[in-house]
Symmetry: C2
Subunit: 501 residues, 2 copies
């Protein structure tokens, strides 16, 4: 299999370039001095251009054809992982080859510029400041979507989506989201009515010193199984999981008056990190060794943060840890109160602060808007109005300024169009996977009550992390849970947690 082996070496070089870009991207969000932004944008654009060359060059195209010929031979020594790897190499090649190199670099530069402008625009709630740079990003995204769509035989938005969640299509999402839209408002209303009828949750009074918050974060990461020999925890304005293979770096931000945000942020990013650290070792620098897609990635963060760590059981472990660490006691620090605090339902402007019951509304809105913008049916100038109307219709909220409206997220200036739906698809998958894991491991919840993630992590490692990209998303979910992606388990989860009969 000489052609296949040569491709493996080529894709290992590609992985090294992507890992290099991953660390440089992490650094830009955590440590980089401001004056270095222009140079960093150049560095990332050059790395992206070189990765693009490597992925699209004639050697790769010819090598793929030759390796596919090798694989067609029944007697080929290619196992199922190698065959899946070849499939993923081809997929990556088509995606990249569809987009001319100039367009890749132009988009990278436009994104770097728009992200910088966005920071200032958001700070000053000045959408007009961002509009020209955002229009440039959108224009280039539409060009990319059209080019990829032509190469993949897909509609433009589907072509973008396929880059984040291979195989995912609007035709698959629309009925799932329509279903959510049908029953979620009523569920939220019932959850809030029940909540209002109960005694209110007692607030945890600060201050919570940053070093103690960080110490608790490290304890929880360790408990969840984060490998500190191959990763770090740092600070950034916007928490994320980034870095490189064998160097998974998560970030959080600390607020001395609020212990929940950093703590739940760390647990969320730890879920992402466990996926990255659990990818199949033998293929970790190959396409088939990558995480399956962003929907499953989000399922792993939500399974830790939402499914596991907001249970009554985990609150029973966490409450005394917090009380001891901060030297507090009293009713606010009881497991019952903590659980109540961590399962409050409260519509709000900010997506990243939303509870799991109202979160999908933020995604439905963004999905509607970005599909329309990619289709050319909504102009940048009309974005704030559409956003504000949507938030009013979906959550009954009146946006006072764009800072808490359409300027709140980096995704659009950041060139991540087609990404938003994966958050809610991930929430559905998390519910489905957690239910299956509980069914298979009856000791899972009691273990969480002792701060022991072993049963959950072991199940996820086997059924999700170590699967890499061997299967498509639905096939992985069928193998792990018996069904393709659906809304049933998410609905059952929300009903049980927020509106029990």
């Amino acid at each position: 299999m000489p052609a296949y082996r040569a491709l493996e070496r080529r894709f290992a070089r590609l992985a090294a370039l992507q890992d290099a870009a991953g660390i440089l991207g992490w650094d830009a969000q955590t440590l980089m001095p401001e004056g270095a932004a222009g140079g960093r944008a150049d560095q990332l654009a050059v790395l992206k251009g070189l990765a693009h060359d490597l992925l699209t060059g004639p050697e790769t195209a010819d090598g793929l054809a030759a390796a596919e010929d090798e694989a067609a031979d029944e007697a080929a020594e290619l196992g199922p992982w190698e065959r899946a790897n070849l499939r993923e190499m081809r997929r990556a090649h088509i995606h990249a080859a569809a987009v001319p190199r100039d367009l890749v670099e132009a988009s990278s530069r436009a994104v770097s510029r728009a992200e910088m402008t966005w920071r200032e625009a958001r700070r000053t709630a000045d959408f007009a400041l961002l509009a020209p740079d955002l229009a440039a990003v959108l224009r280039l995204q539409r060009e990319i979507a059209a080019a990829k769509g032509a190469a993949l035989g897909l509609a433009p938005y589907d072509a973008l989506l396929d880059g984040y969640d291979p195989g995912m299509r609007r035709a698959r999402i629309d009925p799932l989201f329509a279903d959510l839209r049908a029953w979620l408002p009523d569920l939220v209303a019932r959850a809030r009515a029940r909540q209002d009828a109960e005694a209110p949750a007692l607030p945890l009074d600060g201050p919570f010193p940053v070093d103690l918050q960080r110490a608790i974060g490290l304890v929880l990461m360790e408990a969840a199984g984060f490998d500190f020999d191959r990763g770090r925890l740092d600070i950034s304005l916007h928490p994320f999981c980034g870095g490189a293979t064998d160097d998974v770096r998560i970030t959080t931000r600390y607020d001395e008056s609020d212990v929940t945000r950093a703590l739940m942020g760390v647990l969320h990013e730890t879920g992402h990190a466990l996926y990255e650290q659990g990818r199949p070792a033998a293929f970790r620098h190959q396409p088939v060794g990558a995480a399956r897609g962003m929907s499953l990635h989000e399922s792993q963060s939500l399974i830790v943060e939402m499914q596991a760590c907001r249970t009554a059981e985990f609150a029973g472990y966490l409450a005394p840890l917090l009380a001891r660490t901060f030297g507090r006691d009293g009713g606010a620090w009881s497991a019952e109160n903590l659980h109540r605090l961590y399962t409050r339902v409260e519509p709000g402007f900010i997506r990243v602060d939303a509870d799991e019951a109202t979160y999908p509304a933020h995604i439905l809105l963004r999905y509607e808007i970005e599909t329309a913008m990619i289709a050319g049916d909504l102009a940048v100038a009309d974005l704030p109005g559409a956003f504000n109307d949507g938030l009013r219709d979906l959550l009954g909220l009146h946006v006072p300024n764009d800072r808490v409206g359409c300027l709140q997220d980096i995704h659009w200036p950041g060139g991540a169009w087609g990404y938003f739906p994966t958050y809610t698809l991930g929430a559905l998958a998390a519910a489905q996977l957690f239910r299956a894991a509980r069914g298979a491991e009856p000791g899972l919840l009691p273990a969480l009550g002792r701060g022991d993630f072993t049963p959950l992590r072991t199940w996820l490692r086997h059924h999700v992390h170590a699967q890499g990209s061997l299967l498509e998303t639905d096939a992985l979910l069928e193998a792990a849970t018996g069904r393709p992606l659906g809304t049933e388990d998410f609905r059952a989860h929300l009903e049980a947690r927020y509106a029990p009969a």
Copy 2:
């Protein structure tokens, strides 16, 4: 000048790759988790390979020939900076094209491996552990030296040297070092006799909390003119100045029982950083905008640390700052005592801890050894013996184990053969430049007494930093000081400071 302009774009891409590698290298020394070392080595090897391709590819070779044709035309619009840039592009191309790509990558990987082994070997004082990896690095360095020598028409060691200090040759170094060897031992002996006859310097008693040491470091960097919008100060085991264009990152290490090491380390690296931050803005991503070479680079660190900051004047500024910051008083905290502490002469095993009078002996030894090893006249197995004999002959010291002997420096496992002499060439240049600066700026020393580096920095920016690589080292020194590199000013400086009549 279309060919020249195309080359400029190509070299800007190269600079972006080198800057990316600079940040990744910095990260590896400061933050990277241990398990990421293998992956980082791959990333750096791939980046180096790509930079090598960019520098040696047919487009560059053809472009250089075409641009040189353009430049030969008298009517060409190329100014002196562009012409010098073309010269430096050609130089870089010859250096890179001389070494086959496989050899570049093999060397990069061997170095990554040897650096890792070296850490363990040094920790356990076990030279045998390092020997095989060091032999691999040396073998590849000799191949590189032979290949570059053939392309440049130079002896192998000169070819390596030329990579660190363009134009520098053994024939230029040997008489300078022979001169040092002739008068330094006597000067050191006189300095020590004088020192022994004086009242001993009082030690500064710790502890010195790390956060206060860091705060003083930041104050001094600010005073020296470090631009924090384009750089950072962090911690690493081995202090260095690295990072990227517009993102100059220096490091230090803190010892709570010793305030001098971190503080002088910060001043030293700040000298390097001022050079990097002061490079000519219009050409900062071009070869002619790079620092001239490592000898001049070291001159800039030594001019700050040794020439400026160990003067009686600067001690007069620093002593009260230290006393105030650490809340101390008494005779140990007087300017006189501080100056005495900072100008002690004391032969020791460790190069990086050496005072400026005994430091050249460490370099004479390493220069002798590495020239012999590159020539094939000294085997890796014989390195410890040669090192220990040399330290005995030069400084009268008996090396108790290889940790404080030939394992102390990273340079040889790190593949930096031909680098060591630049430290002492830098010390000579520093003395020469400082004397010229004082002559031109009579207020320079009094300003240092107020913590004001402006006269010194302004003079250096004009005569050194902003010159980039416009001139060769000797030509720059002639323009700035009236003479090519020599030992006279260094000798006069040491005599005046350590053994005044």
